[in-house]
């Protein structure tokens, strides 16, 4: 039987992000003082230390910067999904994050490839944002 994925620990810093993802929305933060967009959720802007932060709904569009195909996951919950395709993704909004790319094979994934969010029915299986390839995207 498949075991549950390890879950993030919700706290005041990340509650908005985690709850939004349950609705299929990726929330990033943008600093109102210096306009920097960033991930992961923090109580201060890592660039200028302002606490004046805005939650911003990301378009979900981005590009794969680099990736790894993990054959030996850290938790048994992932064992029947190998290889786990884990990517550094640069969002259109300028923030970067680590996320799984689902619905494609190791042969199909590539650095530079465009990604988008998967349909809600797929997204809601995962505790954190996942992406899928978006070959129709204009470069």
């Amino acid at each position: 039987m498949k075991t549950a994925y390890p879950q993030p620990r919700e706290d005041a810093d990340n509650a908005a992000f985690l709850r939004s993802w349950r609705d299929g929305v990726v929330l990033i933060q943008r600093c109102r003082a210096c306009r920097t967009a960033f991930f992961y959720p923090r109580p201060l802007c890592p660039r200028c230390w302002s606490a004046d932060l805005k939650a911003e709904e990301a378009s979900g569009r981005g590009r794969i910067v680099s990736w790894s195909a993990i054959e030996r996951p850290n938790d048994p919950a992932f064992n029947d999904e190998v290889p786990i395709l884990l990517a550094e993704i640069l969002l259109a909004e300028g923030a970067t994050l680590l996320a799984r790319v689902v619905g494609c094979t190791r042969e199909e994934i590539a650095s530079g490839a465009a990604v988008k969010l998967p349909p809600r029915a797929i997204a809601e299986r995962y505790p954190l944002p996942v992406f899928q390839l978006y070959p129709e995207a204009r470069p």
């Binding site: 993030p8 992961y40 993990i70 850290n74």
Partner: protein
């Protein structure tokens, strides 16, 4: 952080110790730390009552710490340091210990590191390493450090054309040295074909890019050079650390070494070309490669060609991790950040036996670790020289 010219000439490393490396042990972590400590003390010529400073680096020691370890060891200390820089901690602890002795905060410092570590322990540790990994990596099935460094290595390969055939020369060269080291857990022969054809762990990371987590401990004693046994003292010519550089990048192809490199060499009055050996933190060959670039052994992006032109065994053209390093000896948790330091001291004292370099007057030791959201945040380096 700089070491003063006066400290570099009068304070340094007096002795070193290393436990036996084993794949499993029934010994406790305190016992492992005590074993390395006793060996280091014997090597230093000091006695227990001379030690009044303690620096410890260990992932599994908490809830214990430097002060409670002093209680376990029955020493009263005026200076206590608990490393927070992962595999960069032990090298940084030595720099800090030299400065503590110079400041008069302690007369002689025990710097010890170790863990009772194994493969399951690695995943357990990484899954709970820090808030960012717990919340934003573990739920992705990120594969521990392997998955993260797979991303780094692919980026280096795609950005600079670095090839696995080139990175593999690090693992193969170190294994050639390890074949002479009875304390290395992995001593079988390894060819570049073995490296290239090894099982995939986190593509492009394969089996021989990875370390074998194991139990063990390493220690050195820092104090006035004139207290060391005749001909055995080692100077710390310069030492620096840097954390979270560059900020905000998930998988940078550079680290804090690039910021302190010039100061490290100028303070030492030496350059990369003067080094008889390099002990670089080898959690993965790709990170050794990045250290060689950042420390100035070659320019950024050219490390593939640099490696292709050298052999990395202790008797090769570029002696690197001359006891086999973590890649062949095993990674005893935080002691992975001290194994290169202890090997450097061993070489400078002429005590490496079957893998002793013909000439070992000076060398550089580099640390790396504390994996955050995507890569190791901490870097450290020291330049060492035989004091006689």
């Amino acid at each position: 952080m700089a070491i003063s010219q006066a400290a570099a000439q009068s304070i340094g490393i007096l002795g070193y110790g290393e436990t036996e490396y084993a794949k499993k042990t029934s010994r406790t972590l305190i016992d492992l730390l005590a074993d390395a400590t006793r060996r280091a003390l014997a090597s230093s010529g000091l006695s227990k009552d001379d030690i009044d400073g303690i620096a410890v680096c260990s992932f599994e020691l908490p809830p214990d710490n430097a002060v409670t370890l002093a209680e376990q060891f029955g020493i009263s200390v005026s200076w206590a340091y608990f490393g927070t820089a992962g595999g960069a901690g032990p090298v940084a602890s030595v720099t800090n210990a030299v400065r503590a002795v110079e400041a008069g905060d302690a007369r002689a410092v025990l710097c010890v590191s170790g863990d009772d570590y194994d493969v399951a322990g690695h995943y357990r540790l990484m899954d709970h390493f820090n808030k960012a990994l717990i919340n934003y990596a573990t739920p992705n099935g990120f594969g521990g450090a392997n998955g993260l460094f797979g991303i780094v290595q692919r980026k280096h390969m795609e950005t600079y054309g670095t090839r696995r055939e080139e990175l593999g020369r690090i693992a193969v060269g170190q294994r050639a040295s390890a074949r002479r080291n009875d304390n290395a857990l992995l001593r079988g022969p390894m060819t570049i074909e073995d490296y290239l054809n090894a099982r995939v762990i986190a593509d492009p990371i394969c089996l021989y890019d990875c370390v074998l987590p194991c139990p063990g401990a390493e220690a050195v004693i820092v104090g006035p050079l004139d207290r060391a046994p005749a001909g055995k003292a080692v100077r710390v010519l310069s030492g620096y650390e840097r954390h979270n550089h560059p900020p905000g990048e998930i998988a940078p192809l550079r680290g804090g070494w690039e910021l302190f490199r010039d100061a490290l060499w100028s303070r030492a009055g030496l350059g990369p070309e003067d080094m008889d050996f390099v002990q670089a933190y080898d959690d993965y060959p790709i990170m050794v490669a990045i250290q060689l670039e950042d420390l100035g052994f070659c320019t950024k992006g050219e490390v593939g060609r640099f490696l292709a032109g050298h052999t990395m065994s202790f008797d090769g053209s570029f002696p690197l991790n001359t006891n086999g390093g973590q890649l062949s000896c095993g990674q005893a948790g935080a002691a992975g950040g001290m194994i290169g330091l202890v090997e450097a001291v061993r070489q400078l004292r002429g005590e490496a036996g079957p893998f002793q370099l013909a000439a070992a007057e000076r060398g550089v030791v580099s640390g790396y670790g504390m994996v955050g959201y995507g890569h190791g945040l901490s870097t450290s380096s020291v330049v060492l020289e035989r004091a006689v």
